[in-house]
């Protein structure tokens, strides 16, 4: 559920800094440069990039589909190969048993156990299908704010990094205190900085 249909969850960010001149040309080039690259046919463990909000398989953005009026709408797609800890444990133990039998030894040393675990993890990782996650965003260019449609903290951090790499701009989550600084004048902001929690009973 994103911002295109159904109910949605979101947080607000402010976008810090000035937009470059010829913003749409700049955006076209940068979004393409940081578009999502599929890892289904590779052994890569992780891939992150931009796709169209309408279609997670569209990373070509024909006709600048990310432009809607004075807004940029994009989806952040993250594909990651993961191996569940229980699966890794099972196959590592299975391999230990096989080696014990093969070498006729009663016990496997710590170093060897680690080696086995790493080898099995790498083998399982190659077999695992990348798990996709897609999060929508909507950037209001005229008031430099951005709605990001997830409350997942890890995704917030990944967005901050990719946004900076793509557009060279920092974003800051609008927690109540930052929001208050924007809503109040200078005197009131100073008073706000000094207030402490009050008891409502």
């Amino acid at each position: 559920m994103g911002f295109l249909n159904g109910s949605a969850s979101f947080v607000r960010f402010s976008v810090e800094g000035d937009l470059p001149e010829n913003f749409w040309d700049f955006a076209a080039e940068r979004i393409t440069a940081f578009s999502f690259k599929d890892i289904d046919e590779t052994y890569d463990e992780f891939s992150i990039g931009w796709v169209s909000v309408q279609n997670m398989f569209d990373s070509d953005f024909q006709f600048a589909s990310y432009a809607s009026g004075d807004y940029v709408t994009l989806s952040l797609r993250i594909d990651e190969r993961k191996v569940a800890p229980a699966i890794l444990k099972k196959f590592a133990q299975k391999e230990e048993e096989r080696i014990k039998k093969e070498k006729q030894i009663p016990k496997i040393g710590r170093t060897m156990k680690i080696e086995i675990r790493e080898r099995i993890q790498s083998e399982l990782m190659k077999k695992a299908a990348p798990v996709p996650a897609v999060y929508d965003l909507c950037w209001n260019l005229s008031d430099s704010t951005l709605l990001f449609f997830t409350t997942n903290r890890k995704a917030h951090t990944l967005l901050e990094d990719l946004f900076k790499e793509t557009f060279g701009l920092l974003i800051a989550q609008q927690i109540p205190y930052y929001m208050a600084e924007r809503l109040l004048d200078e005197d009131d902001t100073q008073r706000l900085a000094a207030i402490t929690p009050d008891i409502f009973v």
Binding site: F3, L4, S7, A8, S9, F10, V11, R12, V53, Q54, F63, S65, S68, G69, Y71, T73, C138, N140, L147, T151, A172, Q173, Q174, I175, P176, Y177, M179, A180, L183, L184, D188, R191, L192, I195, P197, D198, I199, F200, V201
Partner: protein, 181 residues
């Protein structure tokens, strides 16, 4: 100060806002007058999460039920807890939103947008899709604008000298509500 520390130190601002908004909405029977904009319907419903204390010593209390039955939440207020999450209905003009606000970081969760004609008709042409996107953006931003206007209203009282008087009224409401349960 980094963001994590700032959230921890200032989380009370969002929580006090949400608690104030609950009082404010009940003060006039589910309606708040926004300066220069007229009345906005603000109704707290179904689900609330209250919090007391910080870090490891914090206590949480989840309450859900019909609006009139949020007895535990009201008792929680009397015990000094503050609202951390609440399901709220906000309406202005012909638009009505339902959403859960997580106060400490001001997250909008499970936002249900007003029903509109365009959204129901749909369409597949690029113009129709762009129209739908722009309408959804407008409705999300309109909700943010309303919440910001309410937040500004709270902040202006909170940093002013009249906060003491407001606090007296809120405390009286908390006690009256507590006695009703």
């Amino acid at each position: 100060m980094d963001l994590v520390d700032l959230i921890a130190e200032k989380r009370f601002i969002g929580q006090e806002f949400l608690t104030w908004l609950w009082w404010k909405s009940e003060e006039r029977g589910g309606s708040v007058e926004l300066p220069g904009q007229g009345d906005v319907t603000v109704v707290f419903e179904k689900h609330m999460l209250l919090e007391y204390g910080e870090g490891e010593s914090s206590e949480k209390c989840i309450c859900s039920g019909l609006q009139s039955e949020l007895k535990e939440a009201r008792t929680g207020l009397v015990m000094g807890k503050k609202l951390e999450q609440a399901r709220i209905q906000v309406a202005q003009n012909d638009y009505e939103w339902n959403f859960t606000m997580a106060a400490a970081v001001m997250e909008f969760r499970n936002v249900k947008l007003p029903k509109t004609g365009a959204a129901q008709e749909g369409g597949n042409s690029p113009e129709e899709i762009e129209g739908l996107i722009l309408e959804r953006i407008f409705l999300f931003e309109e909700l943010v604008r309303l919440v910001q206007a309410l937040f500004r209203m709270f902040l202006e009282v909170r940093v002013s000298n009249s906060w003491k008087d407001e606090l007296v009224k809120i405390r009286s409401w908390v006690h009256t509500r507590g006695q009703m349960t």
